[in-house]
């Protein structure tokens, strides 16, 4: 879907390129997270895709077509764009903000109205209550929802998101991440997501591209990045607790054992955990409660297995074996 080949950008007056011969593919429907310390070129890379920044050399193909041969205005209308500061238009109502791209594309009024309501509902805002309000009347989290609704309104196949949750408090951030992950996956969007937060990258990405000084250092799935960091830089970047972060990617149902007699005893003491909880949550409970194991229950509350410390340790052991 998105094909970057030897992409390079040197800003005028700078000797070192901001992005240096970057090659990267993002498959249709996938979320690729660009991550790295500030100044690593991740935002510049993203902005070259919708031509807010013009590459010095290299090519970008979108759906098989070279973006440099396309009219930038038409190109951008087909690419959703969300930035950290959101950039809502303060002089327009929420409805007018969301209607921006459909209006630019000349949709009929009736279709725009329906679309705006649809988008507001999608991001969890009541159309009747929010449509006529102005951005300054909304909280940070609500504005962020509107920003995503606005980017999605033209139904672009591709979304570029630059630290879209950077400006909201941590609790709201986690909630928005989980919510938007579901929404965007269900819509099958191809997403390029920029962040400097490794936890966010692991949570949001199908693939994570770690950048440093304009170069791609490692590209892989979140699990690969955590279990097999390419070098010291990546290792330090993902953090000393990468083994714990890794457990965030594993569901309890993947590590549990079949339920035996011991389950009843755990159940009696109320020590259970949902099967879709993460192994990290299970670990926290096991360490915190001090018990030998937890009963695993499914959505209906039925016992489906049991999980103990040793089961979780097996995840790390398996990773070590796979590592070269």
């Amino acid at each position: 879907m998105i094909r970057l080949r030897d992409l390079t950008k040197t800003f005028p007056g700078q000797s070192r390129p901001a992005v240096d011969r970057l090659t990267l593919d993002v498959e249709r429907g996938q979320t690729c997270v660009l991550i790295g310390p500030s100044g690593c070129g991740k935002t510049t890379t993203m902005k070259m895709i919708n031509r807010l920044v013009e590459p010095t050399s290299g090519t970008i193909e979108l759906d098989g077509r070279d973006v440099m041969s396309q009219d930038p205005v038409a190109l951008r209308r087909g690419i959703g764009y969300v930035i950290q500061q959101i950039g809502l238009f303060p002089h327009m109502t929420i409805t007018e903000n969301i209607a921006t791209v459909p209006r630019l594309s000349g949709w009929p009024d009736e279709r725009i109205r329906t679309r705006v309501d649809e988008m507001l509902t999608l991001v969890g805002l009541e159309p009747g209550a929010y449509g006529r309000r102005y951005p300054r009347e909304l909280s940070g989290g609500e504005r962020q929802r509107v920003g995503v609704a606005r980017a999605l309104a033209g139904d672009p196949p591709v979304m570029l998101m630059d630290e879209p949750f950077g400006a909201v408090d941590p609790i709201t951030r986690t909630r928005l991440q989980n919510e938007f992950l579901k929404i965007l996956r269900s819509l099958g969007k191809t997403i390029v997501f920029v962040t400097h937060d490794i936890d966010e990258a692991i949570r949001m990405g199908d693939r994570v591209a770690i950048m440093r000084a304009g170069r791609l250092v490692q590209l892989g799935t979140p699990a690969e990045i955590l279990t097999r960091p390419a070098d010291r830089f990546v290792e330090e970047f993902v953090g000393a607790d990468r083994a714990l972060k890794r457990l965030d990617l594993v569901a309890v149902r993947e590590v549990m054992r079949a339920a035996g007699a011991e389950v009843d005893r755990q159940m009696d003491q109320g020590r259970t955990i949902r099967d879709d909880a993460t192994a990290k949550e299970a670990l926290a409970r096991l360490v915190g409660d001090g018990g030998p194991g937890l009963g695993v229950i499914d959505a209906s509350g039925r016992i489906v297995g049991v999980v103990a410390l040793a089961d979780i340790q097996r995840v790390a052991a398996a990773d070590r074996e796979r590592a070269p």
């Binding site: 919708n50 807010l52 190109l75 951008r76 764009y81 930035i83 959101i86 950039g87 303060p90 300054r136």
Partner: protein, 217 residues
């Protein structure tokens, strides 16, 4: 008080002359303001795009501001002679700097993220200008227009010195003949006119400020 009554009697004695003076004064001011706006707005937009042009133009505009109004009027005299036209030119020049400066400042203050979003969503340069930048800069631009309007209305009084007519005629004649009541026939209406202009453009500013930008009461 006696002087005000005398002044009123003077007006009542020849209402036609007074009315004409007011009309000329308003015509002169309105035209000068209109031309200044038509020139300064595009110029302000243009310089906001070019940092070097901004430096030169705004420097010139600010220097212009320090020249006394009367001097500006006097400067037009050798080139354009006396009468309505040189007065109009001089007042237009006086009206330019506040609008130019405020247009520039207003546009520079526009939220860069809103502009980036607009570009990222596929607005053309002119769409960004008309739909995002100008509406967001509107309160500042209108404040410049208000400053300019008040200045033009007040300075139009000086047009009398180069034969431009208006309410200044009463003042110059009043001074020349040492008739204080005649001086007041010009001075009082000009003062009221300036205050009215301030109020009018103040309310225009509020009315034209997009709702989403108004201060929460």
């Amino acid at each position: 008080m006696r002087l005000v009554i005398l002044a009123w009697q003077h007006v009542a004695a020849d209402p036609g002359q007074f009315r004409d003076a007011v009309l000329v004064h308003l015509e002169l001011s309105a035209l000068a303001l209109l031309i200044a706006f038509v020139l300064a707005l595009p110029a302000g937009i243009w310089v906001s795009r070019w940092p070097t042009a901004a430096l030169v133009t705004l420097g010139a505009a600010n220097t212009l501001r320090t020249i006394p109004s009367l001097a500006v009027l006097a400067f037009t005299l050798p080139f354009l002679g006396i009468g309505f036209l040189p007065s109009l030119v001089a007042l237009t020049i006086l009206g330019l700097p506040p609008i130019l400066t405020n247009t520039y400042v207003g546009l520079r203050q526009v939220d860069a993220d809103a502009v980036e979003s607009a570009a990222g969503m596929g607005m053309t340069r002119s769409q960004i200008l008309w739909r995002v930048e100008l509406p967001l800069a509107m309160p500042v631009i209108l404040a410049g227009v208000r400053t300019s309007a008040v200045q033009v209305v007040a300075s139009a009084t000086l047009a009398a010195f180069i034969g431009g007519g208006g309410l200044g005629d009463f003042i110059t004649t009043g001074i020349g003949m040492m008739q204080i009541e005649l001086l007041l026939v010009g001075a009082i209406p000009v003062t009221l006119l300036a205050i009215a202009t301030e109020l009018l453009f103040g309310s225009l500013e509020r009315a034209l400020t997009p709702r989403g930008l108004r201060e929460v009461a």
